[in-house]
Amino acid sequence: MPDPEKEFAEEWRDAAYNCFSSGHKFCREVCPVMQVTRNESWSPTAFHANVVAMEKGELEVADVAADYVNCTGCGACELRCPNSLFTGDFYRFRTRTVDLVKAVRGLAVEQGLHQPGWQRWNLLTDERRHEPVLGATPVEQARVRDWADGLDLPIGGESILFVDCEAAFHRTSVPRSVARILNLAGYPFGLMNEQWCCGGPAAEMGYEEQARRFARHNLDDWRAAGVRRVLVLDPHDYITFTEDYPKYFGDAYDIEIVLVVELLAELIREGRLTPHVPVERAVTYHDPCRLNKRKGVWREPREILRAIPGLTFHDVDRVTQWSYCSGGGGGLPVEKPELTAKISEQRVGKAAELGVDTLVSACPWSERPLSEAGAARSIDVVDLHELLAESLGVAP
């Protein structure tokens, strides 16, 4: 076994045996990929068992690298694992399947084992400084603030709004809604001087050097402009800024990160925002995986929905939704769009059972696959921020 693989197996050995020796496999039924494929080689258990086999010299990363594509990074498996849910906080040792999958992907890239879709995606991201999302606005540095045209937003300031690539170039009505709502509430904020992709997707697909380079650029840009606080509307960015950046920069990471959906709920609570325009829709809410499962954020989006007059809200609780996913995360739509589509169809099917006409999400990356699946069932997929803007009378 090559040395990097030996080091890797040693690093992940305890975690791997912790999973392999348990065998309860609660993870399987909450895993979106397992739900639609029933492929045991793509289960969270298999991802750990492979490490046991690597440690014993029975396989190398080249044998299994392609299997690790099949994960959305939703975090359901590691949360539902009893080694997290029932003992993780007690031992300060929990199951970390998402980190393991990222680590194997990183190890594969280090050894020149690329997945073709991911390699091209990250190459283009490196060239353009933003992910090559498809949208009306061409992806290039000069256009990253086009979504804000006509809003007269300042550059820099103590608080800035960071807009993910999907929202900046494709789902532009989402950041426009957020900006108009914050302006309405009188919450001061600006935009970055030179925003690059957060780097999170590169890290998820195994391109960690690139991810770190992008993170370094963004942090330097914030510091140069005197930024103290970053407002984040995208759950994926929120993970990157609160889990990856702290790992990269340690004690030197002195930026406050604020999730916009939590801020908006607070502004409603304080009476600084009062939704008043009725929105006559029958809706259910899709808990974005990175908020509900990976961060435990589920109350605030529901608070916002319940503050909007006219809505008929068919709620599905957060624990039931541990087994729901759009399929839009972890690079899966880049490498295996057919799996993303199946997962999204399944999620929209759950919404259809409730008889709703609208599925509300709070994650721009989930909204493209969910919209495609929703079209077949005449279910609209609407972003929570846009819905709130509508009820506040500030159309994007």
Binding site: D14, N18, L79, S84, L85, F86, G88, D89, F90, Y91, R92, F93, R94, R96, F241, T242, P246, D251, Y253, D254, E256, I257, V258, L259, E262, K295, G296, V297, D317, R318, V319, T320
Partner: protein, 84 residues
Amino acid sequence: MKYRYQEEMSPPPARRATDVAITRFEHVYEVEPGLMTEHVTQQTFPNWDTLRLVRSRADHLAWMHRHFADKVISGEELLHDLDE
């Protein structure tokens, strides 16, 4: 939830609960860290992650009760069932 690195990486001071357990957050117990230095070492655990697990566990147990616990069975009844 505002994320600040220094706050997240600074857990509240530990109070001893038993010979083998400490507590940092109300009603949340942790193994004595000295027992986790040899075979399996502890991971970096920001405060938000500890609290996320604790709250998720409570939500999960409530969910289990709502879905599956529609009657209370005494220990005596259980033993009786086993004897039969």
